[in-house]
Symmetry: C2
Subunit: 347 residues, 2 copies
Amino acid sequence: MDERKLRILAAVVDEYVRTGEPVGSKAISKLGHIKVSSATIRNDMAVLEQLGYLEQPHTSAGRVPTFKGYRLYIDELMTAPALSDEEKNKLDEMLGGADTPEELLIENAAAALTEITQCAAVVTNSVPRFSVISKVEVIPTGKRLYVILLITSNGSIKNKACRLEFDLSHEQLDFFTHYIDENLHGVSVEDLSEEMFDKMVAAVSAYMISLSPLVKSIYELSEDLRHQEMTVKGGEKLLSCDELDKMEVVKFIGQKHEITDILEDTFSGIQVKFGAEGNFAIGNSSMIVSKYRKGGKDAGSLGIIGPMRVDYKKIIPYIEYLTQKISYLMSENDENIIMAENSEPKP
Amino acid sequence: MDERKLRILAAVVDEYVRTGEPVGSKAISKLGHIKVSSATIRNDMAVLEQLGYLEQPHTSAGRVPTFKGYRLYIDELMTAPALSDEEKNKLDEMLGGADTPEELLIENAAAALTEITQCAAVVTNSVPRFSVISKVEVIPTGKRLYVILLITSNGSIKNKACRLEFDLSHEQLDFFTHYIDENLHGVSVEDLSEEMFDKMVAAVSAYMISLSPLVKSIYELSEDLRHQEMTVKGGEKLLSCDELDKMEVVKFIGQKHEITDILEDTFSGIQVKFGAEGNFAIGNSSMIVSKYRKGGKDAGSLGIIGPMRVDYKKIIPYIEYLTQKISYLMSENDENIIMAENSEPKP
DNA sequence: TATTAGCACTCAAAGAGTGAGAGTGCTAAA
DNA sequence: TTTAGCACTCTCACTCTTTGAGTGCTAATA
């Protein structure tokens, strides 16, 4: 596999990404930066096709990269230009500063990606999993009606209403809050288990049977935090891509997505997976994701889904920058929160 | 306009809804329940076309109802069968019981409608507007970090994090919570105004300047409640309707929708509006909505958007039943909450 | 007078044939 | 090893034709 062939492959990908039309040998030679005749290019392209990097929609059409071709291009051939300061500033602005709650940070990043790339953004909600419970409050709000508030160290707040059989006295509520705090404060969300809650239900019921629905509600809230899911934002952008099957797209964005292996992968750089490889159910698409980290640990993933014919050169630097920036911001936030935990303002 | 013509119109609508193809005179006569020859039907259909109830896609095709035709059909000709007990039970189950929070009730109704009708559901979020503020809490959760919790009488809970310049002492927090409670408890969400908050900011700042961001956050939360919007759920269902323009649909479901005149209309039964009449921007579509009430007052709307060729006979009873049930459930909830407000469990 | 049968007419959709154009693969020469 | 040349293939856009459904009109009928 000589260097010229690689350059031809790169040129085919670039041209195809630019125009969306199958590219022929003549088109490549006209580009000027490969100084051999179209016939030579033709021969090389035939070889590239045999090797599985290119394919022809039909005999007399130009060539289109296969996903193997894209893969080689992305891993070896492409040189992505660095973002300009202007672009970085724009991203910083869209993302929000260090005091942005983490969930919002991710949401903003997704919004930025959909706007810039005109593709769908994918994000995982796995951050809360790596946080600890910093507060559980039970607030009476009506007859036999209580709101449970669960706050974690990463700043996410969940609430849920809970109706009891009887009203609680001040003392009962105090007992309960105290008990819960003792058992849950500082516990990592990841470590929460059903058994743990079962024990708590038992303990609490011994004191007063009608408290157990509260524990159950807290459990349900905590499940929200533990629940891992990949969410797709701006999926409608994919509908204007005519290389994607509309039905597949609609089905895909309507589904709930369990975190796939892709996003669980230990490798931490940019990852590109193709629908064609069987990773997910949109035939002609590719998913470009990268992980962000928090306090030295993987915390979640972020990226886009678009057509396979997507401007990798342009998009990858954006995703890289965003995940780096998010990692940085989250680790900063983290410090604040750790400090805060050592000095609770209210005893 | 004799009775036979009306029956023919009804038959055309029914057939067109069933098959999706323009319906010809022969097809009608074959149905059997209009006992004249196709030639007679042909003549009548020509009259119906002149009157604007039917139209021909092209000369040698059958006829299709115009929106004027649909209107007449819906208002005068259609006889919608009542729901079976089985169907009612299914809806009840999907909706949830009397202790379901109102927002969830609406969400469930929307989900039920999309599932049953395979159309997009539309709902308004206007319920919270008609509720009063029942509780505002400020909860310290970290260094200079506070969570504000806003609870309304209809059971909706909003929270927001707020970072201050300094930490608050116990007394300061008490002062603030007390002050806010005095000023906001029992105030109708509709009556909240920016001026009100401006005054509160002024008063609070006099005590301690750094409290004002808290007031501001509460204001932002209250805006969430007051903000009226029509939301579309399951919009992707419309993409599989080939009579709708995909671009229009995508645009429509991507937009934020201010509450339209349709939903503000004083009339309280089922309402059907057509995109073709200029009410909203999906050409060949119709919106079927009905209002639900709470404690005797209109509280919001609920319905579907689908192709004009939609099974009105089937869908309208569903929407009617849901809005009635929701009105009933909300009024029941309301009683509980009013009772609860007169006897706060925690002093 | 209202209804019906019959027939010519219209039009869209589907199919068949055609030419242009783009691109290829192969061969032979440089 | 590269290139020029050429025959070949296949799609796309276009046109022409056929088919069939459905109409409108007219004249006969109840």
